[in-house]
Symmetry: C2
Subunit: 366 residues, 2 copies
């Protein structure tokens, strides 16, 4: 395969199983990508991630720009060498921070003025700067700077975000120098059908190696999210990868795979771990519960992860309640493995033409 070829191996009722040829290795889709915001997936080492089955790891250009600094990462051989992950990497552009930082990010036509979360200093992020930073970091896949408004944004704000996102996408495309990185465009438009269509049209017009569905999972109703997701996925070219940004709940991931989405990322598995919670085939468990104090079984009987193969719920509860960090590590490893296995099993089901059955057999408690 040539660089960034995307072969659809199999499709089944709209769901697709593919292979994306990234410079640091092939990515089998659908895939879940663990998030290592500051060049580390919280509490997990690269070998933990490899064991869990991670193929692509995310990092965040905004955070790495500030700490340790783009030039520092570059001087140490780039992001792969820095974090000791030799598989594919994807960097987010900083666009999500427009949403997540709220008033600390002011959006202008030219770019975003960020107040650094580290020292309060103001920095102006342009689409061009975002691409240059991501080129210096050197991930396999890089993202356009976009404007991601919150769910409660009015039509005017949404419309403006669609326009800026398109204008910035064109500037990113123009700025890109490195040919060994795949630049992805991002479709915005909230849950508004007209704006989604307009955004998709404008981003497709520019043309990218892959397309991301942004601006969802930002506080909107679930039904509206699913509707916008299905709509947007259907607007994207069938022959390029589709990436739904920021979705980490198992049921949501399965719904998006049904709609033809190929890539997912979310901080949910590690965030849940910090709250003492575990994904299981029969719903989430919160290990702080006294009910687990003497339970000898694993977090999830069907799970192959190191935590489930070696430790009881009672022990993990002990670690969590005593604030012992091994508890956080074991829950993180389990939750990340759980989502990686979910997408891997979905892929197998698609290839074997039984994706509908797989969906039906998915626990309602997801």
């Amino acid at each position: 395969m040539n660089q960034f070829d995307f072969n659809i191996v199999s499709s089944d009722c709209g769901a697709r199983a593919g292979v994306l040829a990234a410079p640091h290795g092939d990515i089998e889709t659908p895939c879940f990508m663990p998030v290592g915001t500051r060049a580390t997936v919280k509490t997990l080492s690269p070998r933990d991630l490899a064991e869990a089955g991670a193929q692509v790891v995310l990092a965040n250009a905004y955070h790495l720009f500030f700490r340790p600094g783009t030039a520092t990462v570059a001087s140490l051989g780039g992001l792969h060498a820095f974090m000791s992950w030799d598989g594919p990497l994807l960097t987010d552009s900083g666009g999500y921070q427009v949403f997540s930082l709220g008033p600390a990010a002011r959006v202008f036509a030219g770019g975003v003025e960020f107040k650094s979360v580290y020292d309060g200093a103001r920095h102006f992020f342009t689409p061009e700067l975002s691409v240059r930073v991501q080129e210096q970091l050197g991930a396999d896949i890089i993202m356009c700077l976009d404007e991601c408004p919150p769910a409660q944004a009015g039509p005017g704000e949404l419309q403006r975000a669609v326009q800026r996102t398109a204008a910035w996408a064109a500037r990113c495309r123009k700025e890109q120098q490195r040919q060994d990185q795949m630049l992805m465009g991002i479709v915005q438009g909230g849950t508004n059908e007209k704006l989604r269509r307009e955004s998709a049209e404008r981003i497709l017009e520019i043309g990218f190696g892959g397309y991301a569905i942004g601006g969802l999972s930002v506080g909107e109703e679930r039904s509206a999210m699913l509707e916008a997701l299905v709509l947007t996925a259907g607007l994207l070219p069938a022959d390029r990868p589709r990436y739904f940004m920021g979705l980490g709940d198992p049921a949501g991931i399965l719904a998006a795979i049904s709609a033809g989405v190929d890539m997912f990322d979310c901080v949910l598995p590690t965030r849940l771990a910090r709250h003492g919670s575990a994904f299981t085939a029969s719903g989430r468990l919160n290990l702080r519960g006294a009910v687990f104090a003497r339970q000898d079984g694993p977090l999830d009987a069907g799970c192959r992860c190191y935590a489930c193969q070696n430790f009881s719920r009672a022990y993990i509860r002990h670690l969590v309640t005593q604030k012992e960090l091994l508890g956080l590590q074991l829950l993180s490893l389990h939750n990340v493995t759980f989502l990686l296995d979910l997408t891997r099993k979905a892929r197998q089901a698609i290839i074997q033409g039984r994706f509908q059955d797989f969906m039906k057999s998915a626990p309602a408690e997801y």
Copy 2:
């Protein structure tokens, strides 16, 4: 070998290389034993410990008595099953908490009244209770309840501690039911020669499978500590293991090995990690230092650990300064490996009859 046989394989100028046959595996001495106070060595999994070369892991009967409770651990199959460590384990008796908890521990002739660090409730720890708790936990090696006074204790307090420690040791010996656990006696007496001799005499009179040197590393001058250590080690029978409690600095460990000590434990490697520090062959590094921001080399060029084989000082500094827990894990793994390798190399040197040279070549910066 029969259970708890202790074979001295080789000795060299007072230093000894031995093998202690514990129920869960042979222990090659001299050895460093990582401390898992609450049934977990902070941030390290059992497989991390095995990879680092740990043979014995410590846990603390005082802490496990309160959380999760002795009966809970027993109902889950005992401490080995609970923490998923199938090698040898050693539990401390709670005696150290007499020192470390200060006013929250009141010592009486009958035992220690502890104010629980968990909920403030008062509990009376007798020598008998300590043995029963440790029998329920099921470690390979268990310790007598002793009174460990602080370095500033006056002669009267030291004398009283020697007497109580001896009286309690006799009660522990009498209480012991399980024959598959080795009970160790503890010699007290601070840095007072007369009291050390008296304590050793009384503990030896009772007779134990092994002997610990307690009451040092509690704030005394280093020279006084070394003097008391050499004195006490010389008073203990040559054919049984000698355990120096609570010593974790590399130079101190080497000095104690010279004096014929076989076993060591300390929280220092994981505590240093929490402070961002690493042992190296040329002294300790504090990774918070700006000087490490772009250093591409490993923590310690001679180290075989996962952290040193895969990550730069710059990356670990990034993790530490950003409070990313992977930094703490990598430093803990490195520091524990460092002490395990130190004792392993000392053992090889003893066997090869070059222990003096090994001592001479040890970096002064230790």
